[in-house]
Amino acid sequence: MSRSLLIGGLVTAAIVGMALVSLVWTPYSPTAINIAKKLQGPSLTYWLGTDAFGRDVFSMIMVGARNSILVSVVAVAVGAGIGVPLGALAAARGGMIDNFVMRLTDLAFAFPALLTAVIITAVFGPGAFNAMLAIGIFNIPVFARLTRGSSLGLWKREYVLAARCAGRGDIAITLDHVLPNIGHILIVQATIQFALAIVAEAGLSYVGLGTQPPQPSWGKMLNDAQTYIYQAPLLAVFPGLAITFAVLGLNLLGDGLRDLLDPRIRRQR
């Protein structure tokens, strides 16, 4: 097992674990306001201090992890759930269908991803659900292209020809021979898109279009902390660190998984 897989897996597991624990227990309620205890530094009572309303930062980060993970999981699921079948269809059929799907993805790529998400949430209204959809939509072309590109070569393989000689149709071949052989590529891409979605969610929440108050979110915490950057600089550091660790952990996990799942490397073991 590679070191990046180990470290990435541990960091990701820690964040997921924190999110899971927040479902049943947080040190304080993340929404409980206590103005008397506002802007305190880290201490034994408040592990990471309190914010301008006296809310416990550690509790907010725990629940924020939950929101970030939920938004990213749904966004990546939307992107992969629509993008992978589209890409597989384009690769299987070729010709006009392929051209049509690829031009659609070109169109989607022509707009900067985060800007599109801002437009979508601005039109449909801010909120966690619309943020998921918006981030999911710009994940679609990523998965469509990757799936098409990596399946195209497989359609020329002789085992696919043999399957066609055995009378199997395009859908059966896609499910039995194509997707299992590109699964490792898709999983790695999913971890990278997952990290990007966390950043995107933080970005949307930072400008107020993502998770809505009083639900805590890492991006919103950064935004709130900005006002008090001179009085309480640590307030911005903790949510920033949470985002950094989540993205770093997922990227390392993706790298590690790529090595683990690559059939060429696996064969040598």
Partner: protein
Amino acid sequence: MSTPLLEVRNVVRDYTLPRPSLFSRPVALRVLHGVSLTLGAGQSLGIVGESGSGKSTLARTVMALDRPQEGEVRIDGENLYALSRTDLRAARRKFQAIFQDPYGSLDPRHSVRRIISEPMRSLEAGQPGTSRSDRIGEVLDAVGLSPAAADKYPHEFSGGQRQRIAIARALVTRPALIVADEPVSALDVSVQAQVLNLMMDLQERFNLAYLFISHDLGVVRVITDRVAVIHLGRIVEEGPTGEVFDGPRHPYTQALVEAVPKPFAGRRQRGRSAKGHASVAASGAAGAGCPYEPQCPLAQPLCSMEAPALRLLAPEHSAACHFA
């Protein structure tokens, strides 16, 4: 005469080339110019020719993978390209294929059992599946592998063993015809002999017909009864294998036969046989004359004016040359 097992009639196959620019008309390249063949049950027919001559396209057409622009492919009298999807699937039980690359023709993520059972599951749907694992054992035994091989994965086998697995997959539905596209060219010479011997044993045992595509004349001589020589998408000579290779009538066949490296012969006279070298496919510019005329050492004025038809020269032996 009864209907032959395989009958290919006047097959024409064009490939559309990628357009040079968005606004130009698509250009077609004709790969097969009206090829006709017949093959009886239990017989084997070799197709030889250089790369780019259309051998593999012909194989794909016979396997109903690549619809030709004209002509028909009949198996037991049924035109494959006129059948409905269900009927074609039923017809596929009668013909299967073996491919060139023993590493590329088996899905690396499927066990040998799953690989061999794929044609059974797909082509015999609705039939009782009880005896399938017995049949996998039988077919593995027939190709000389142990039944324990069924639970292994392709990367655990050598090239020759993988080709045996591919043969087992082709054999499991008990087809009457196996299309073999360069089945031994990727193997070591010693392994080639084993696989060829196996294929000949199986032919006898199961009364198989082979359409055997190869560029290796030695291999074709060993395994086939008859041979067709293909050049730029046309059959230029056809006949019993021994007769064609020992007394080639068409100048292209003569060049092919001479090009086979022989030990010691010709080493001292290297400069002499410069005729009959590779003819790079320039098939787009087909004029009225014989397509082989530009490379032909025997070309006469007639050859550039009139294309020769395939004509019978001896019983069962024909060639497409005015002077054969």
